[in-house]
Symmetry: C2
Subunit: 352 residues, 2 copies
């Protein structure tokens, strides 16, 4: 086993601190990856603080926006070679036999995907540890190829924030010329704007106040509206083909649904901690849809990475050392980051 | 103008009583229809009692499940001739120029369809009067052809209950072999079972108690489960591709959504008087959809009638005289009808 520096939460009440984990030598179909960068997702905070049902697996090493280079491969690996730039996203395994796994939608595995961290290996039941560490061993079927034209640090958030927004735009059929509202301009929202604009959609950012107007337009959005201004919901009523809602704070779904045209679709990718009331009539009278989407499968994640490379898209990031992680969490909770913190994992060798 | 016997509610607090309305001689593109039968929809009660926002137009002649025969045609009518068996559903006009009207989805008209009753003509702003009357004048583009193989009295409910259930099954892509749950076994639910079975779906009826088990199976359903039994939501979790929810009483959408497989769709056609809480996670984690559907367009309504004729499908009805209408409303509110009251409008000539 390979002794590997990491940062872990000892329990839901403790800050992240230096920790050592073991990574295995790659088995026949596995690759060993030297992690260079790891994005910091808001779900890292929820899980490290054990806010999702209190069944977190501790010590917990978060991180599922992993980018690095292959340093060793198993005997039967044929997709990657040593030196390749690669990524690992939200999951590292799945059942491989259910209808979704067979159709390349492993994120919807009937038996539950094996998450990159805070989960258990399918065979050994050993805990999985994420990307706040310097290396990871993963089956090649769950590894992505990072196009070399994307700066590797700015590629990391594509593995979660990128695919979470790309997948529903594709799956629900957003096409050139469609009017799309992106609700919320954080890690997910800023990727949604870039990707949707590249797809040719007419993108309006909806955010609570006017504060983010300039940033939204700078990211490529065609329009902006502040949702705290009452006129917004009148002016924009019935004007969108799609709404991509990235907000995980409570908000009024019915008000947003009313902004959809007939046959329009509102896509949820943020999970508020309380259910929100939905009026059947708002859906029925204009044949609207309220739908969910969860990250994306491996095949589609690769497609997204290639799409981003082709369109010159990467995440806007703030690169940090691992020692800054607890402060970064505090800033993220305040929404104070443009738009994703990414850990330079070289700093892990110096830490601890 | 043609003096025409009808039954009307004088206001939201009054029972239905004899009333005389005027129907116009058919204009160039219109047909005059002798009404033979009119189905009694639950929405007739809501509107006659002014329970939808208090802006009902009175006196009100309800009825939007109309079947009759053409007795006179305008100069330029080319779709129908005198003697044809025809139907009129929930609307008699629409803007004809918006994207939905142009694509044959007139029920979703951006300017609002002209409802068959409790609405206003687009030109004169005169109130529209429905099928609790002996004749009606309608533009041929909003008239359906009733296949002669369907008994005309049993065809009437197809114009609302039939299309309301057929349209979403088609639009959302229910296909042979799909597992479909029909929630509620009333006027809509019993049509949903017949149509979905004819489409080849594997149909399970979900109803509060075991009372309707035998009826559901007799209608062709393959399975039945009682939703008041706690085991139902465990046993059936994650088993349906589609749920068609016909219930307009408050119920827990999240519980039903949990019965969907990954990528499953729950279709609402009933409108409870209160919004219901929806948990984003239930939609997101399995990429589920909660969607609405509203009757159907003219082209699709014709398709549904032809489908019903081809599959020997008609509504199960109780034929009543108009004098029984107020008692029928009382029984409908108790759910005491299998499955639709239909007025024999010949009784209107004797009434009043």
């Amino acid at each position: 086993m390979l002794q590997t520096p990491a940062y872990a939460a000892a329990d839901g009440a403790s800050p992240l601190a230096p920790f050592t984990i073991e990574r295995r030598e790659p088995r026949a179909h596995e690759v060993l990856i030297d992690i260079l960068y790891c994005g910091v997702c808001h779900s890292d905070i929820h899980q490290a603080r054990d806010e999702w049902g209190g069944n977190g697996i501790f010590p917990m090493v978060p991180g599922h926006e992993i980018v690095g280079r292959v340093v060793q491969i198993g005997d039967r690996v044929n997709k990657f070679k040593v030196g390749d730039a690669v990524g690992v996203g939200c999951f590292v395994d799945s059942c491989r036999v259910c209808p979704q796994c067979k159709s390349g939608e492993e994120q919807l595995c009937d038996q539950g995907m094996t998450a990159t961290y805070n989960s258990r290996e399918r065979d050994s039941k050993a805990p999985t540890y994420g990307g706040y560490s310097t290396r990871i061993t993963v089956d090649e079927d769950y590894v992505l190829r990072i196009p070399e034209s994307i700066p590797l640090d700015r590629a990391a958030p594509l593995l979660c924030a990128g695919i979470t927004t790309y997948s529903p735009l594709k799956y629900y059929g957003v096409k050139a010329g469609d009017a799309l509202a992106v609700v919320g301009l954080g890690g997910l929202g800023h990727m949604a704007v870039k990707i949707a604009v590249a797809m040719g959609a007419k993108v309006t950012v909806l955010s609570t106040s006017q504060n983010k107007r300039d940033d939204a337009l700078a990211l490529g959005a065609h329009a902006f509206a502040a949702t705290r201004e009452a006129a917004t919901f009148k002016t924009l009523a019935g004007t969108f083909d799609f709404i991509l809602d990235t907000v995980s704070a409570p908000h009024d779904y019915n008000a947003y649904l009313s902004l959809l045209k007939a046959n329009g679709t509102m896509i949820l990718v943020g999970i508020p901690d309380q259910p929100a009331p939905v009026a059947a009539g708002v859906l029925i009278m204009r044949r609207r849809k309220l739908v969910g989407s969860l990250i994306g499968g491996i095949r589609e994640t690769q497609e997204m990475l290639d799409f981003c490379a082709a369109h010159g898209i990467a995440s806007d990031i703030e690169l940090i050392d691992i020692a800054q992680i607890n402060g970064a969490y505090v800033r993220m909770i305040k929404g104070d980051v443009k738009y994703r913190f990414v850990i330079d994992t070289a700093s892990l060798n110096a830490a601890g």
